[in-house]
Symmetry: C2
Subunit: 341 residues, 2 copies
Amino acid sequence: MNDTKLIDIASALGISVTTVSKALKGYTDISKSTRAKVIEMAETMNYMPNSVAVNLRTNETKTIGVIIPATVHHFFSSVLNGILEEAEKRGYLVIILQSNEKYEMEKKQLALLIQKRVDGVLMSLSNETDDFSHINDAIRKNTPVVLFDKIAKRVDCSKVVINDAKAAFDAVSYLINKGYKKIAHFRGSYVPQNSIDRFLGYKRALEAHGIEYDPKLVYVCDNNTDFEDGYENAQKIMNEHPDIDAIFAITDLVAIGIIKYFNEAGIKTPDQVAVFGFSNWFMSTVISPKLTTIDQPGFEMGHTAVSILIDEIADIKEHKPVTHQIIELPTRIIERESTVK
Amino acid sequence: MNDTKLIDIASALGISVTTVSKALKGYTDISKSTRAKVIEMAETMNYMPNSVAVNLRTNETKTIGVIIPATVHHFFSSVLNGILEEAEKRGYLVIILQSNEKYEMEKKQLALLIQKRVDGVLMSLSNETDDFSHINDAIRKNTPVVLFDKIAKRVDCSKVVINDAKAAFDAVSYLINKGYKKIAHFRGSYVPQNSIDRFLGYKRALEAHGIEYDPKLVYVCDNNTDFEDGYENAQKIMNEHPDIDAIFAITDLVAIGIIKYFNEAGIKTPDQVAVFGFSNWFMSTVISPKLTTIDQPGFEMGHTAVSILIDEIADIKEHKPVTHQIIELPTRIIERESTVK
DNA sequence: TTCTAAATCGAAAACGTTTTCGAAATCACC
DNA sequence: GGTGATTTCGAAAACGTTTTCGATTTAGAA
């Protein structure tokens, strides 16, 4: 409980607080000899600046806030790891909050972060949010925001995303090129744009290859925490459309539910029905057959989001104009067993 | 960029900063009428206190730090979710740092958190740390620390753990009671106590049931990020000891590697060799056969760790004596397919 | 009306830094 | 020894709050 502060060093040395502060911060108007004495004394007294006081004086906290909509799992784990690594590298601390897909939560948490004077915030939007004034408020107050993954096009800030529609288009095109003809889609709920985009990619790929889109082959899986949805809808679709030969699933989670059911029901994957996932979560290599999927680079997403944010923080500090970037990270197909006969 | 502060409200109302502050904080020496005026003006000017200034004055940040040794995955995801939920509930923010199993990192990060004036810190030790002076320093400086999962008995602070030895003992006893006779153990590396304790539990269970412990049946799996270790050692043990009938694995991850190999090599699980995991990670229900395992309550661990920490913070603030608690969370066997014939 | 008690307010210090600006001391040079 | 330039230091203000303590006003009682 013996926190040493500037004044302790100063009085130990019989000099002023100002001189101590300057010596420690490398000001040039302090003689080498007193600087040396100060540094040594600071060392022996185990001095560490009180960050709160520094923050108040300098008006920056070297801290960024992160708001994620869901629990820390799967995709968001990767993003978080990317965020933590890059933030550490750049000397920033990170505060994490989860909105549980609630707009009110998200709004409250963003306000809290601003009140805490974080230097910037990273966020992935909740499914509920269709009003973005809280974000615009933050930006107007000079707290830069960068959106990742679940973004809103209408907000004027930097964003880092993948192209869900294109990734889905590629996935379905891959299936078509492999010779699959009757391809179903297990989509996500109707609200998040990612879910919509992946569905659109699916639809466009069919049309681009001259296959008629059949809405009856689209099933909704809106449970994001378990694979039961995939399991049950797989059962359902094999009753209603036993002649399908492939399913493009919105996530690896539902893909795994599908494969689980197929394995239990004796339906051969990929021989009778191929399965294509999305995200390349760890468990996609655990299941048998191993899952063909889209690699969604969560770690890189976290990395670049932090990088952009910290650059913007620096620009704002130097009163430079900040130019917002929209970064679209590349995805790629990871071909495994569930689609190759 | 128009942050309103106390003085703005004060001058708008023609009163002093003191009165505004008191009115907002519910001091009783402010008349109802001015209080009402202040509150209304604060509302319309959208006042939010500057947390940094408040922190400096009150000497508390309502923030806790968390240091985890590994990447945010599997078990630590659950813990983190528990931490985030409980912290939010109690009005605390959380800063997360990862030490990557490096003692020097851990030490540096703890110092950083103290410098940032967090009110307390939660940590799970790195494999390298066998010197605990940094933790004792923190505690001596009145920053309470509570250790979880990977702890050090010698540090005088609260801890929340599971009983690894007992859990392992239960697991192996379960196998013995099921009739398995030649039970191997795929242990973790030699350094973390958890790994040692689980090994000891294994050994004691054998001895308690009159089965001779054979060190040749113990294999080391020290890769925590992939299941290759389990896979390769499974291959090895089936060459060297083809007559084993069960394996107790240190984590679900290596258990899954084992099952993967067994599935590919045509070795029937559990008929020829049963497999028992540890932790009850999500993927243990993904694999076929589904994995019998020990439920390690990560979410509850995060919850109670935060709860204890915040209680200690309150005690310290009120200069009450703090009594450290050692909480041992119960584990239980989750019986699935990999051990029932 | 006067005196006391209660109600209401504000000046100022404090939290621990950083930074501006001026003062003092030293130096170089003639 | 005097001048100006340079080096070295420190007083003080500032960041935005909270809180103590004293001052002033008001109400109540006699």
